[in-house]
Amino acid sequence: MTDAILEVEGLRKNFGEATAVRDVSFSLPPAGALAIVGESGSGKTTVARMIVGLERPTAGRVTACGRDRSQPARSARERRDRGGQVQIVFQDPYSSLDPRQSPAAAVEEVLRLHTRLDRGRRRARVAELADLVGLDERQMAALPSRLSGGQRQRVAIARALAAEPRILILDESVAALDVSIQAQVLNVLADVRERTGVAYLFISHDLAVVRQVTDDVVVMRHGAIVERGPTDRVLDAPEHPYTQLLRASVPRPGWQVPKTR
């Protein structure tokens, strides 16, 4: 696919002797939604960190919006441009916000970095983003310690979206939330995708959620991709034994209990 907005080719990461990611390739179309699933330790986070530049690939290429980003950014401008292309929301809602900064200030800081809006416009945009993720004015002005995990995760999503990225990586971003909050955040995400055309790279070990949010899926095991395809197909009729095992080991409401095992 040459029109892919995110293209990952032959990605590899060694940590000393150990190989966390080996020969991972996939692509994400504009406004698409791709899931990476796999058990804990299978290398999903490492792939995400290499895409956003927090980790340097041992080998392979990452291309986002047609621009190579396998090497560290050389200029402040390039760093900022990359931030405007791909954003990430991490798993842990408790460390994802500066404890001394209100959500409004955090989002505004990103707007100052990425846009030339004046003060009044920035404020309006903060309100717009808050509205998009379902936070009210009082919550946006509070310190993070006064917000719940779900609210913080929504702030993190708003902050990521403030950069108007074409790609948003969600690394287990809803895993720490209880089911009803999780459902709210997932609705927010579906809504945002519809309104902004952002593409999602959705990392999760929760197959029910993956089915709800994504079109395609890759399955990772021990750092490598073992199966890929449309989400429904892969989850309904997994071909690789590991995917079958993965599906069987995470029974969830709405899932038929596998007949074997």
Partner: protein, 297 residues
Amino acid sequence: MTAITALLGSSRPNRWGPLGTTAAIVILAAVALSVLGPALSSADPNASDFASAYAAPGAGHPLGYDGQGRDLLARLLTGSRTSLLGPLWVVALSMAAGTIIAIAAAWVGGWLDSVVSAALDVVFAFPGVLLAMLVAAVFGPGLSAAVLALSVAYVPYIARLLRSAALAERRKAYVQALEVQGLGAVAICLRHLVPNLIPLIAAQATLFFGYAMVDLAIVSYFGLGVQPPDADWGVMVAGGQSGVLQGYPAESLLAGGCIVVLVVAFNVLGERLSDGSGQGGTFGPSRWWRPRRGGAA
């Protein structure tokens, strides 16, 4: 004074407990007295009148005179300025250098971190007082030599603690989110990292103020710091020794008492601040890193 304003701005007094509050009041009172100094005693701290050597307290001279017939209250008040300004300089210099080194090492990591850690280990092994005396012996006695030497000697303690705190902070998701946003390293450090380390920095500054006060007094006591006839508490303790032998211990006792009271106050407050600095829960018991005098952290 920077330490005091920083800590007043960053921590709530009701968390300090009665002891911590008392310590803060003692420190504030000492600062006020040293600022108001000349207004409280009209006597010239350096004017000696041998006729009134060791004279008992009297009108206008509430603490009496020292062995050279100088007004004790005036000398204590003037001495408080050098005795507070010296440690203030030490703390300002060593905290600034320690913070910059710690954050650079934690941020850049890799070879810089290894080099810094190794260098800090070497300096670590050297007691501050000895270094200060050595420098004063080589470059000539005086307050600035001692202040510089002590600042250098304290940097490893400060940098080490702050490095691990900065490292923990740097790994937090919000810092990484800002990196992904494309905000520059310096901006992230100045706007986010340092402000979040301020409670710890203030606690360290307060503790080290007490240490610096003792160390500078020792250096002055041995004649390598502040030079007589300038008033300084360490100098006064030394100068009053002959009086002690003759049965007039007032000068040594008063100056020594001031040092002890303030050092204890700074230590108590420093402990309270570091207990409340919020770092304890993040990486282990709040006391493991605290440097003990003359020992490793």
